[in-house]
Symmetry: C2
Subunit: 147 residues, 2 copies
DNA sequence: TATTGTTATACTCTATAACTATA
DNA sequence: TATAGTTATAGAGTATAACAATA
């Protein structure tokens, strides 16, 4: 009897493993945030504002690698939904802050993120987890150096 | 003097590190393959055919998590460009094989991938590299179990 | 002049739905 | 009926270019 075993030549590549692992976590997180009406990117933006009050949308874009042009409609949507407020700062800059509603959404998102992360890290001990994250950080250290 | 240190609260999350590391490698690989006219996805498909002659496009889609509907135009393009040939197999299935030109492109892509991977893995010793890839594989083991 | 924010637009990926052909 | 392949299409996400407002 003849058996053809299908093998995937990409499996030993770091880039491939990163892509698949990243996509799997992204899909799970998107699902976890869906019913509070936040996309993963929107949640990321809210968390930047929470941690850095009065940050500008351009700065958030630089941190998260989102182009200025793409930050505009996202910021507009968060303002319109009452999650974020802004006021004039320097030049054309607008300082962003969370509203009470934004803080509430952020807190709920934080709990869901913690559960989501725990699900994927459950069989790693703390040291392995830290080592993995440190290794990943080195993978894109070139990007980080640009800032 | 007042200094505001901007900090990124996402930095300690596995999901975030995966996304950034994956995006960095993907962009680098896309650039490395650009002048041989292959996208990263096209290269991935060619390598599946090289490693598994007479595979069908549906099977490739299952391995790489590409929907059948999205495999169709990609296969058509690879056929049209003379990189892949096909012949009727079972039912509506079409067995795919690399042409000589496809094999040549695949070999060149393989060399570029090796250089690209080495660039990102250069400061990891072999054991670290293997451990990292094994850890990543566990991150999306849920997806793999579905196959 | 350099930076911020905005608009328009295009391209790639990805997703669903509907259809045909074959076992 | 289940599977393979195709087509059309819609939605993200991301890219560039051009413009106005401000230091």
């Amino acid at each position: 009897m003849e058996v053809t075993v299908i093998q995937n030549p990409l499996e030993r590549l770091l880039g491939y493993q990163l892509r698949r692992a990243s996509a799997a976590m992204l899909a799970d997180l998107a699902e976890a945030l869906a019913d509070i009406g936040l996309s993963v990117t929107e949640m990321s933006v809210l968390m930047q504002i929470e941690a850095n009050s009065d940050i500008t949308q351009s700065e958030i874009g630089r941190i998260l690698a989102i182009k200025r042009a793409n930050m505009a409609p996202m910021t507009a949507s968060l303002l319109e939904r009452g999650l974020v407020a802004r006021e004039a700062a320097d030049g054309r800059s607008q300082a962003l802050r969370l509203t009470d509603e934004g803080r509430t959404a952020c807190a709920e998102a934080g709990r869901r993120i913690a559960a989501h992360e725990a699900k994927f890290l459950s069989d790693l001990v703390g040291a392995e987890r830290d080592a993995l994250i440190a290794l990943l950080s080195r993978v894109w250290s070139g990007e980080q150096a640009k800032r």
